[in-house]
């Protein structure tokens, strides 16, 4: 017992606040395009594994939700028009939360939930990277509980569902039943490129698509996988804490 206590004392406090945004130099965050440099050769479009890039009317745009942050487009562009930035705060509100009618919903959420949030994780067919990053939210560094946010075992106790993975055929029923079992008001967050866009592996016989093909999604958090800080950003955005 004393050994346990000694180790705890020696370790000290390791918890970080959510404003901590330092990333390593090599981190591949949000893509930025230098429009004036783009020659419309479309090499980037051809090389993108998840079809996240498109060039229309001379403008190269990136679908963050489908982006795998692999860096291939950056390498292939001969004019260096594309680069990854350190920005990982890419969560987007959608549907009811994003409109002006959403203000009323947000107030209701704040009243009902009192700014705390219980989350049920639903793996709808992921590779487990997003799931491990979600599990990391419970560690002593990110300590999601400091915000009054926690994971629960039953969808009945959940305010928010965090969905990972392209929805597979074999998990369709589980996803839909979990959504239906959660009581209103409820929110759904699509975590990672697979849940947010469904485009990671293209279309196959076993894949249904993105999470929003089956359940209404309120927040999208891009990444492959999104870092834990990006998940916290998305969560705080969803409960209007930012």
């Amino acid at each position: 017992m004393l050994h346990l206590l000694r180790k705890i004392m020696n370790t000290g406090t390791v918890t970080e606040g959510h404003e901590e945004t330092a990333v390593s130099d090599r981190f591949r965050g949000e893509l930025r395009v230098r429009a004036e440099a783009c020659g419309e050769c479309r090499s980037c479009v051809a090389v993108c594994p998840s079809k996240a890039l498109s060039i229309e009317a001379g403008v190269c745009s990136v679908n963050n939700r489908a982006c795998l942050f692999c860096g291939r487009c950056v390498e292939v562009c001969e004019r260096e028009a594309l680069r990854h930035t350190p920005n990982f705060r890419l969560a987007e509100l959608q549907g009811s939360l994003a409109t002006s009618a959403g203000e009323i919903l947000k107030q209701r959420i704040r009243q009902t939930l009192g700014r705390s949030l219980h989350i049920r994780h639903v793996d709808a067919g992921s590779c487990n990277a997003c799931d491990f990053e979600m599990a990391a939210l419970n560690n002593s560094i990110y300590d999601i509980q400091q915000y009054g946010i926690d994971f629960v075992a039953s969808p009945r106790h959940a305010d928010l569902l965090m969905v990972t993975g392209v929805v597979t055929r074999n998990l369709t029923q589980a996803l839909v039943m979990t959504y239906e079992a959660a009581a209103s008001p409820k929110l759904v967050m699509a975590v990672g490129a697979c849940a947010a866009s469904g485009q990671t592996f293209g279309q196959t016989y076993a894949i249904r698509g993105s999470a929003d093909a089956l359940v209404p999604v309120d927040i999208y958090v891009p990444g492959c996988p999104p870092r834990p800080q990006a998940l916290i950003y998305g969560l705080l955005l969803a409960v209007d804490r930012l």
Binding site: V14, P49, C127, S140, I141, T204, Y205, C224
Partner: protein, 499 residues
């Protein structure tokens, strides 16, 4: 040394038993390929790897259109799940298989459709409402406990059907393949380089291992000679992957029995390693580092210094945490003698990796079939014989020390040179095997090239594939509250199996 023997389905069983030689050559993988457009037949491939020499034998059998072949399972138990998958995805029947239930296709899949056939049309795959039988144990007082696919914690999906007599587990049936995404089909027809990004995302925790195995197969097909510096950097990535997985898995194992200090410290140390991964590769799972032909990025002197310092600090910290575990009687009481996989079962099922070494099987691909730079490096392979949860824990603890040792060698002996080479043209319909030792065990990728450096067929046999049946075997005889602990002591990836 790789040897290919071709035969017909009538002689398959006899030849397979001959090569298997009572377990001297493990059945490492078995899969089918639709080669009707090439030679008019389906082909079956059985990959045998010798346990005491560097010898791989690929036994290829041609199967006629009506698609039957003699089942290997009664003589080679490791074939059981492979033959079920072949039946589901190709419609070929292993005659004499003791348990030919569906494996990959769940109730929603129409029975008569086999998606890995080349003439399969996706539009036909409507919803079905079939059966997915899970055998029950009958008897007075026996009841079933169903768990999953959505589990209480943050974990991948799988369904477990326990047959219980009170707290005692009489039988455990696992229904997996929930995260089956059809990745092997999605890469067919894509170039080697394009398909790579799908392969890197089969599994998060085994990213580097999949990347290395696949790249090695492609490099064999294209005759590419990966530069020595790139091989060293691949080993660095692979050992960083092993480190964060082992330490995270040990933390999760503590969660399986409610030992919160172990879980908390394990997660804390793992976080330091994930951040180190990001500073080396730009991604916390080391995605983007390995590429067919070599590696995409170099490490600077500052990075090498940071890696060495972090890994040394982690080793010290980790040793202190392990000291907490092995002094704790309540902890030891839970892990000793729980979830035993006997040596003979481990051999019969071709169990690999940590689970095999914990049951007394002295095997590690890095030493037995050296790849990348492992042939030039010095490391030990720890083996335990008790086959219980404790053994799988202590093997990991020793492997952490070996990974630290390997990383030190890599950093101090890193040769100069190029990072990657271009890929030449592969000969259409040539095939090659790539392999690496993932944190869970051997990970094999078999690639057959199509025209113009595209993929005709990819088969992935991750470490989780042969090990999942061992989990089902380890549970009976224990009490059901020990199941999370047993499951976490294997810490297999569902995504690696399901693809």
């Amino acid at each position: 040394m790789l040897n290919v023997i071709t035969t017909d389905s009538a002689s398959l069983l006899a030849k397979a038993i001959g090569i298997y030689d009572n377990g001297k050559c493990a059945l490492a993988a078995m899969f089918a390929n639709d080669e009707r457009s090439l030679c008019g037949h389906f082909a079956l491939y059985c990959v045998f790897m010798s346990r005491d020499s560097q010898h791989i034998t690929v036994l290829k059998a041609l199967v006629a259109e009506q698609g039957q072949f003699p089942s290997l399972t009664p003589d080679i138990p490791a074939a059981a799940w492979y033959e079920r998958e072949i039946h589901d995805l190709f419609g070929l029947t292993a005659v004499g298989h003791p348990d030919l239930r569906p494996l990959v296709n769940h109730e929603n899949w129409p029975n008569h459709l086999h998606p890995m056939r080349k003439d399969f049309c996706m539009q036909e795959a409507a919803e079905a409402d079939g059966d997915f039988p899970l055998p029950k144990v009958k008897g007075e007082g026996i009841f079933e406990v169903p768990v999953g696919p959505i589990h209480a914690g943050i974990i991948e999906p799988g369904h477990f059907r326990f047959s219980q007599a009170g707290e005692n587990i009489i039988n455990l049936e696992a229904k997996l393949f929930f995260t089956h995404r059809g990745i092997e089909k999605s890469v067919e027809g894509r170039t080697f380089e394009d398909a790579f990004y799908n392969v890197e995302r089969v599994c998060g925790a085994c990213t580097v291992s999949h990347a290395i195995s696949y790249s090695q197969a492609v490099e064999t097909l294209t005759g590419a000679k990966v530069p020595r510096r790139a091989q060293y950097l691949r080993v660095l990535a692979a050992e960083l992957e092993r480190l964060y997985n082992h330490i995270g898995d040990i933390g999760n194992l503590c969660a399986g029995l409610g030992f919160a200090p172990g879980t908390s410290h394990g997660a804390r140390i793992k976080e330091q390693l994930m951040r180190l991964n990001e500073s080396v590769a730009g991604n916390r799972f080391l995605r983007g580092m390995v590429i067919p032909g070599g590696v995409r990025m170099d490490i600077t002197r500052e990075m090498a210094f940071e890696v060495a310092a972090t890994v040394a600090r982690v080793q010290q910290d980790f040793n202190e945490v392990m000291g907490l575990l092995n002094k704790n009687d309540a902890f030891l009481d839970r892990v000793d003698t729980t979830g035993i996989v006997p040596l003979q079962a481990a051999l019969d099922l071709s169990v690999v990796g940590v689970a095999a070494r914990a049951s007394g099987v002295n095997a590690d691909m890095r030493r037995d079939y050296p790849y990348a730079a492992y042939g030039e490096l010095d490391f030990k392979v720890p083996v335990c014989t008790s086959g219980d949860v404790a053994a799988r824990l202590w093997v990991r603890v020793d492997e952490v020390a070996q990974s630290v040792r390997l990383i030190k060698q890599i950093l101090s002996e890193m040769p100069e040179g190029l990072l990657q080479v271009a890929l030449a043209a592969a000969k259409p319909f040539d095939s090659a095997l790539g392999y690496s030792e993932s944190p869970r065990g051997g990970n094999l990728h078999w690639v057959m090239a199509g025209e113009n450096n595209t993929i005709y067929r990819l088969f992935i046999r991750s470490a989780s594939y042969p090990n999942w049946p061992a989990v089902a075997l380890a549970a009976p005889g224990n009490i059901i509250p020990d199941f999370p602990l047993i499951n976490k002591s294997f810490e297999l990836c569902y995504a690696c199996l399901d693809r």
